[in-house]
């Protein structure tokens, strides 16, 4: 089976550590991720509010290339990219006509049958089965799994049973030896929509999340979305302003957590790239 990989812009920029850690653990598990050749923007920013056809064509092109390269599955770690690609696939599957139009625009055939996986689905399917062997140094501390909005929504497309209170990340963290806390902010808004324009709102929304996680004794917040990460990590000053206190709880990607548990070096996991210093090793 050929597993494709669509990094998207974030993983090549603000969240390189996400990229590095994902590839690192894939390598450990002996899984090859083939990056899509000449991939393009997923259209997550403004396209889908401005131009319907463009907002479908952008993701569709990536899907078409993946098909052309005979990939059976396509891993899309960025929650926003994932959302765009899945929504496009869903919409085109519903509307035969539209699919024809788009595929003509692209001048590429489009079967639209490739299986798109977000990072959690990828981990569950390919990494979790071999965790028992690969986990060398269990993370024996409390974590708060934060899903954000895009991983589990929209419910009618994702068919997620517990889209208001997801568990998939929690189960994976348990497998790493960690203790995922029961907390209410799993899918609260981090303010990503305003992360550039109105950082004080980000400060408030993300602040409540960081605060609650800390209050409930979490030693780290685990995420699977670049936006979530940059808001909870990079916008920490805005957060501290809102809470007017210094919060030092680190925010790590689930892929980093796995990398650490696999005993890879913090560097391999890209830990050093964070704004909020991560020193979880103390608990071990």
């Amino acid at each position: 089976m050929k597993i494709g990989f669509y990094p998207g812009c974030s993983l090549t920029g603000s969240s390189r550590e996400y990229n590095e850690s994902l590839l690192a653990i894939a390598k450990e598990a002996g899984i090859e991720l083939v990056e899509i050749n000449d991939w393009n923007c997923c259209g997550a920013t403004a396209a889908h509010n401005l131009n319907k056809e463009l907002s479908l064509s952008l993701p569709a092109r990536n899907l078409a290339i993946a098909e052309f390269e005979e990939m059976d599955e396509l891993v899309v770690p960025c929650a926003a990219c994932f959302n765009r690609l899945v929504m496009t696939q869903h919409e085109l599957a519903e509307k035969e006509e539209l699919k024809k139009i788009i595929s003509e625009k692209l001048q590429m055939p489009l079967k639209n049958e490739i299986r798109i996986l977000n990072v959690l689905q990828f981990l569950e399917k390919h990494i979790v089965p071999c965790l028992d062997l690969l986990v060398k140094s269990p993370l024996e501390f409390d974590v708060a799994c934060y899903y954000g909005c895009l991983l589990v929504r929209p419910q009618n497309v994702m068919k997620s049973e517990r889209f208001e209170d997801p568990m998939s990340m929690d189960t994976i963290m348990q497998k790493l030896g960690a203790n995922p806390i029961d907390w209410p902010f799993k899918t609260e808004c981090c303010g990503a929509g305003f992360s550039i324009s109105k950082t004080e709102i980000v400060g408030e929304l993300s602040g409540k999340i960081v605060r609650n996680a800390t209050d409930r004794g979490a030693k780290a917040i685990v995420v699977a979305c670049p936006m979530c990460h940059s808001n909870l990590d990079m916008r920490r000053s805005a957060i501290d302003n809102y809470l007017n206190m210094k919060m030092d709880i680190p925010v790590i990607y689930i892929t980093q957590a796995i990398a650490l548990a696999m005993g890879l070096s913090p560097r391999q996991a890209g830990i050093q790239r964070h704004f909020v210093p991560v020193n979880l090793t103390v608990n071990r």
Binding site: F163, D182, W183, P184, E188
Partner: protein, 667 residues
Amino acid sequence: MSKIGVFICHCGENISATVDVARVAEAAGQIEGVAFSTDYKYMCSDPGQTMIKQAIKEKGLTGVVVGSCSPRMHEPTFRKACQEAGLNPFMCEMANLREHCSWVHDKSEATTQKAIDLVRTLVEKVKLNKPLYSIKVPVTKTALVIGGGIAGIQASLDIANAGHQVILVERDPSIGGHMSQLSETFPTLDCSQCILTPRMVEVAQHPNIKLMTYAELEKLEGSIGSFKATIRKKAKSIDEDLCNGCGTCTTKCPTKKIPSEFNTGLGMRTAIYVPFPQAVPNKPVIDKENCSYYQKGKCKVCEKVCPTGAIRFDQEDELVELEVGAVVIATGFDIMQPSGFPEYGYGKYKDVITGLQFERLASASGPTLGEIRRPSDGKIPEKIVFVACAGSRDPAKGIPYCSKICCMYTAKHAMLYQHKVHHGKSYIFYMDIRAAGKNYEEFVRRAIVEDEVNYIRGRVSKIYEENGKLIVKGVDTLSSAKPVEIEADMVVLASAAVANPGAEALAQKMHVSYDSYNFFSEAHPKLKPVETNTAGIFLAGACQAPKDIPETVSQASGAASKVIILFSKDELSRDPLIAVVNRSPAPVFSTCVGCFMCASACPYQAIGEELITNRQGKVIKKVAKVNPGLCQGCGTCVAFCRSKSIDIQGYSNEQMCAEVIALLNHE
């Protein structure tokens, strides 16, 4: 040579809007064997029917095709009309030009053409119709009522008071249903028990009512007028005749920590128990799953203390066969298990409860004797939040429909709370307030104005615990259009009303249809709300759809009156659409070769043997024979018969073939 009359109905504009009715009538006139054809605005109306009758008389019609609505709607109407004009009713067929044509297609040539094809098809069928005479079946004037809630109680009393026998079957140890769990009832706030209990007692004492509690329907066979029902009487482990309901056993039983179903788990009961003080019958049953004798093999305390020696540990389930003429289904509803929404933390937080649990808290006979105290620590909640539409009207939770009763009972709950906790504050999150009903709107107003209940229009996204408080996160979409957070002491979820878990299985046992939510389907959404598609089986109460008490009671009386009408005759006539084995002249007698594959396929064991003998009485041949009393006319046997020796009246091989040929050969 057949003389068929074709009558095309406009159905106001329902058909004529998309079908060129005049052309259909004209085209029908061209069909060989059609002696008369016309169209009219309302064929089912009096003038319409007269038109048909006159044509039959004047033109001497041998058959009639009415092109109008679905035969499931008006077939009886038109067949009756034909009969009154002296034509055998079974010489009348209907072409479904409305449900199957005008309503599902746009106005176009193709639509009209389809209408013509449908009419032609039925004309060709009618040509081969034969006069049939309905079968008389005796009516067993005993009704079976399934479910002992208010619906079943009302239906039983009405039927019994009309002088007919009733068998009332209830799954639980006592009748009373959900209504017996309620505290006060809207919009009058009179105590539910006080108005219900007398009815329950009346049922118990009624000479015409045979009450079977702790019993369930096992099997239902036969058809309208003569059903055979098999009831499983679950072992109560007591001798009801000896037991005098003194209650010593229930007080002495050592197993005391079983969550009480009646108190929705807020109270405890013993292993040998009476569900609630006013139970009817007021005699205990032993819950085998929790009785230490049945589980561990020792105890028998109840047996020792019982003054009348009524305990029977060796009692076993008993199957009872009953002959009944009609059935009323009154199995009621259930509430959605709020585990359906983890974001509300039901089950995780003790003080998030359901509306039904609140009823028990508010009820004088409840675990707190009517005081509103929170389950976790028994404190009186200062701030309480009610969440309406918990599950209802939420396609994401699989329940797009409105549960209908929640708006009213939530208003009632808030009111009761305010009456009992004067200084307390109550909030209700709602989508819309649906208070359509006599004195309902006024009731809700009272809650808002007099009792100062805070209504917040908006939904609740999340409930979580933070230092001892329940944080209810929602949104106010009306006054502030802002997110709201309330620190509550207790939250009540108006969880959706859903069908009983057993509903689907029950429907399948009785072969009545049910909708995608497992509520039983009425025969017609408007005109047959208490009938099912299976003749002789009727519906009462919330098993058909969520209903409040007044509505349930009226539907129950409606169902009862249908039963009483049925019982007003000694015999009823059934459509003779049944299978028959052919006869042919000697020496063949019948083309049936007696392989009896039909017999093994028949769902009703309606096919037996017939010996054909010659004059000397010597058996020449053994052939199949259909028992007209048992045959329901499914025709499965017909499709099996290799020699085409068995055929079904009204759907005969010739008729079906003619239809196929006619339908496919146009232009």
